[in-house]
């Protein structure tokens, strides 16, 4: 990637108060700047609100920001011009929010996105809602019209804090240039501490332009925000006893395990006590799927064996999961024999959907360690483990690949997995391709699975790949497994990938349908394909070339391995237009609100 993305050409700002210009031109000020430049450790003092905003980001260790310019955010961009923070100009603000979100998932610290007021800010909303549902750490900074115009329906004015309140962990409206930097520091701390989430600071232009020499405070959450790290020892003891006496124990690892960096302790716990491990979709990568104890993912399109295990266990240890309905199916039939031990940092998740018999509020890594200490004897569950293995062979995830039919998507996902290393990162759009990416890729490491879980946002894949690429190590491949419909929603991001020379591979599983909808229409709407038939798809390989990326195309099995090899090997953005079987469907499937143990293996069983 180019060292400094998008240099901003300084513009004459008529509104700039004259005194400020003369101020910095005085010999005194110049001398001061010089001495300061000599000592690396003392940065230039801040002179206005915008510089204080950027200083707050620098203090927080921010290296990258994703965004789009605009009138109300211009002062902040002007301050960014002198900063070491690399700004990546996106083609659309939605892309900026998804890129920042993906950055947050891969890097484990908040991703930053910037947008101007009005349409810039509203374009961020999908990405904010997405990050909110998935508890991803992210900070959005939005420009706002000058304070005196706020509330008057001024040009490009939107009530951004009003619009984003339901989809952010917290937001604030800056009212004071002396405090605006601290507002940003606080937003940064809030985004990552406790249960992570997106935060937003709305920045009226007069606040960022006004003079101030107040340096922002270091990132720190407000005093009213406290997080409980350790769970109640008495309940830990009781839960440990329950585990010891359990005959059919199972661990259910959610996305919170990855966020809390608790994968390692969970692995140790599971392996030491030989407890089968199920993951939720956001929990993919928390436990190695090639391990014997792994039952892989449960839920609507989870594996048959994971759904059998979750349905038949007698003790379920849910960690960092919020029991989303796509996981539980019908509440009445979810783990109906199981006493639930629930570990979560957010007290509000305890007994929200599924009643917790042993509620353990605290940091996942800390509480699992507490539990590890408290469990004296492993459960006697030999029969149960054998049963789990039996289910794995009964319901193995296999598929047919008849030579006379178009390429099956599962085959492509497996081929991509084989062609990349273990630590490769997968991003996806939303639809069938996303589910095949869950089912047929073998995840072994945390922070390698980047997808839109709770909100289910089509168009997430490509901008997420951009954010993931920026956060990833150089030796990590980044693969976006996308759907044709999803790709079409945000493919302008290709211009960014090309400009920044980002090494990502997009495999568009092209079925000329918005396939997941077609699948449901076939199953539940008598095959009436209302508005789901996308027979007018562009040729994605040629489209990629028009953007300056490398285009590839796969039509038959013989192309698969070599083409994937070439695309992965290509040093820069590449797009493979993979023409798959348009009729391919995702199974197993638990219909919405259904019983997980009654998953269908074919359409006839729905």
């Amino acid at each position: 990637m180019s060292e400094r993305a998008a240099k901003i050409t300084p513009t004459d700002d008529d509104e700039q108060p004259d005194d400020q210009i003369t101020d910095s031109a005085t010999p005194d000020a110049a001398a001061e700047t010089e001495t300061e430049a000599d000592s690396e450790s003392t940065p230039k003092p801040v002179t206005n609100g915008a510089e204080s905003v950027i200083r707050a980001l620098e203090n927080a260790g921010v290296e990258y920001a994703f965004g789009v310019q605009g009138g109300a955010i211009m002062p902040v961009y002007d301050a960014l011009y002198d900063s070491d923070i690399t700004h990546i100009t996106m083609a659309h603000e939605q892309g900026a929010s998804h890129a920042a979100d993906a950055y947050g998932i891969v890097a484990g610290k908040p991703g930053i996105c910037l947008a101007t007021s009005g349409p810039g800010a509203t374009n961020l909303v999908t990405g904010l809602a997405d990050a909110d549902m998935d508890s991803d750490p992210m900070v959005a900074l939005t420009g706002q019209v000058p304070t005196e115009f706020v509330g008057n329906d001024a040009f490009q004015e939107t009530d951004t804090t009003g619009v984003t309140t339901p989809v952010t962990k917290n937001n604030s409206f800056a009212t004071d240039p002396d405090r605006v930097g601290t507002d940003v520091s606080e937003a940064f701390a809030l985004a990552s501490e406790g249960r992570p989430g997106p935060t937003l600071v709305d920045l009226p232009k007069d606040i960022t332009k006004s003079e101030t020499d107040v340096e922002p405070d270091a990132p720190k959450t407000p005093d009213t925000y406290t997080v409980q790290e350790e769970a109640d020892p008495e309940i830990v003891e009781a839960a440990a006893e329950r585990i010891e006496n359990s005959e059919r124990p199972a661990l259910l690892l959610g996305g919170g395990v990855i966020k809390a960096e608790a994968s390692e302790v969970c692995r140790e716990f599971a392996i030491e006590h030989e407890i089968p491990v199920i993951t939720t979709m956001p929990g993919l990568g928390s436990f190695p799927e090639d391990h014997e104890l792994s039952m892989e993912m449960a839920g609507m399109h989870g594996t048959g064996y994971a759904n059998m295990a979750v349905t038949h266990c007698d003790t379920l240890i849910g960690i960092g999961t919020r029991f989303d309905d796509r996981l539980t199916g019908g509440i009445e039939t979810f783990a109906p024999d199981a006493e639930l031990i629930h570990i979560d940092i957010d007290p509000a998740e305890i007994s929200k959907n599924i009643h917790a018999d042993y509620p353990l509020v605290g940091d996942a890594a800390t509480v699992v360690e507490q539990l590890q200490e408290a469990v004296d004897a492993s459960p006697q569950a030999t029969k149960w483990r054998a049963q789990c293995q039996q289910w794995k062979s009964d319901y193995s995830m296999a598929y047919d690949t008849p030579e006379d039919e178009p390429v099956q998507p599962q085959f492509v996902v497996e081929a991509l997995d084989e062609a990349t290393s273990d630590n490769a990162i997968v991003t996806t759009g939303v639809g069938q391709h996303q589910m095949w990416a869950c089912q047929y890729w073998t995840y072994t490491e945390p922070r390698t699975w980047v997808s839109s879980h709770g909100l289910g946002t089509m168009g997430y894949g490509l901008p997420a790949a951009i954010g993931a690429r920026v956060a990833a190590d150089d030796d990590q491949e980044v693969v976006c497994i996308d759907g044709d419909g999803s790709f079409l929603m945000t493919l302008q991001g290709l211009s960014v990938a090309v400009r920044e020379d980002l090494d990502i591979t997009v495999a568009v599983l092209n079925n000329e349908y918005i396939g997941m909808v077609r699948q449901w229409q076939d199953a539940f709407f008598d095959g009436r394909h209302s508005a789901s038939d996308y027979g007018w798809m562009p040729e994605f390989d040629k489209l990629a070339e028009a953007f300056g990326a490398q285009g590839f195309r796969i039509d038959e099995y013989d192309d698969v391995a070599d083409t994937i090899q070439d695309a992965i090997a290509y040093d820069g953005p590449s797009v493979i237009d993979v023409h798959i079987d348009p009729q391919a469907n995702v199974y197993p499937m638990v219909p919405s609100g259904g019983d997980n143990g009654q998953f269908a293996l074919t359409e006839d069983q729905l």
Binding site: T161, G162, T165, P166, N170, F173, L190, D223, T224, Y225, T226, V227, Q228, D232, I235, A238, G304, M308, T311, H312, F323, I331, E332, T333, F334, P336, D337, A338, E339, D346, P347, A348, I350, S351, K352, I354, H355, A356, D357, P359, V361, G362, D394, Y395, S396, M397, A398, Y399, D400, T401, F411, E414, Y587, D595, G597, Q598, A600, L601, T602, Q605
Partner: protein, 231 residues
């Protein structure tokens, strides 16, 4: 990938041949005996929240109630002895798990300092202004006296009364006044305080999360009684 794998499709026993567990949960995710229906019936309760007195708090709180579909009966806000703090009193009607959820979700809002569900013996008051036709002033006054209603305005045709008290008292007053013909009513919704030295919503901010966690923990011991439903 082996050729053998290529040949298989998804297989295994179909749904009807699979064993299903005996247990069941109710709609609130609580394990129950499948023979009986067990649900928590909604109950009316008063939740008091001490919040930062800043713009947008009310929108944040009311937005939380509406987007989570909590059934809100009334909501009042007013200043406290501390200029920086306001008190929000909410009457809700929900089953127990819903009430727990409301308290926990409220505590998550940053401007919310503390949240408490009031005891049934808490002092609760509502105020109503009732404008009635006053063609028969004597009869109207008699009713007003009966309910301790204060006259706040009178004209040749109308009389307006202020009534304070519990909801039932106001309801009864309104019903009795209706014989004269009610022109307009305006009611405040309920406000409440805990009795005696008991503090309604304690100020120490660091308790907010701790008590949320405590409460989450307490649920373990909470007994969910199973009852057969009437219907």
């Amino acid at each position: 990938m082996t050729d053998e794998k290529r040949q298989q499709g998804l297989e295994g026993p179909p749904p009807e041949e699979r064993r299903t567990p005996a247990g069941r949960r109710n709609k609130q995710g609580i394990r129950i005996d499948p023979e009986v229906e067990a649900t928590h019936k909604p109950r009316r309760t008063v939740i008091s929240a001490l919040v930062e007195h800043e713009p947008g708090v009310l929108a944040e709180v009311s937005g939380l109630f509406s987007r989570r579909q909590f059934n809100i009966e009334s909501l009042t806000v007013g200043p406290t002895k501390d200029d920086d703090r306001a008190r929000i009193t909410v009457v809700v009607e929900e089953p127990d798990p819903g009430i727990d959820q409301i308290k926990k979700q409220l505590r998550k809002l940053l401007p919310v300092i503390s949240v408490r569900e009031l005891e049934p013996d808490a002092m609760r008051r509502e105020l109503a202004l009732v404008k009635v036709d006053a063609h028969d002033p004597a009869a109207v006054s008699a009713v007003a006296e009966m309910y301790d209603a204060k006259t706040v305005d009178s004209s040749p045709e109308t009389a307006t009364f202020e009534i304070t008290g519990a909801r039932q008292k106001i309801n009864a007053a309104v019903e009795t006044f209706s014989q004269f013909g009610i022109r307009e009513i305006s009611r405040t919704g309920l406000t409440a305080l805990a009795r005696g030295t008991d503090e309604t919503a304690a100020a120490p901010s660091t308790d907010a999360t701790a008590s949320a966690a405590d409460e989450a923990n307490q649920q373990q011991t909470q007994q969910y009684t199973q009852t057969t439903t009437d219907d």
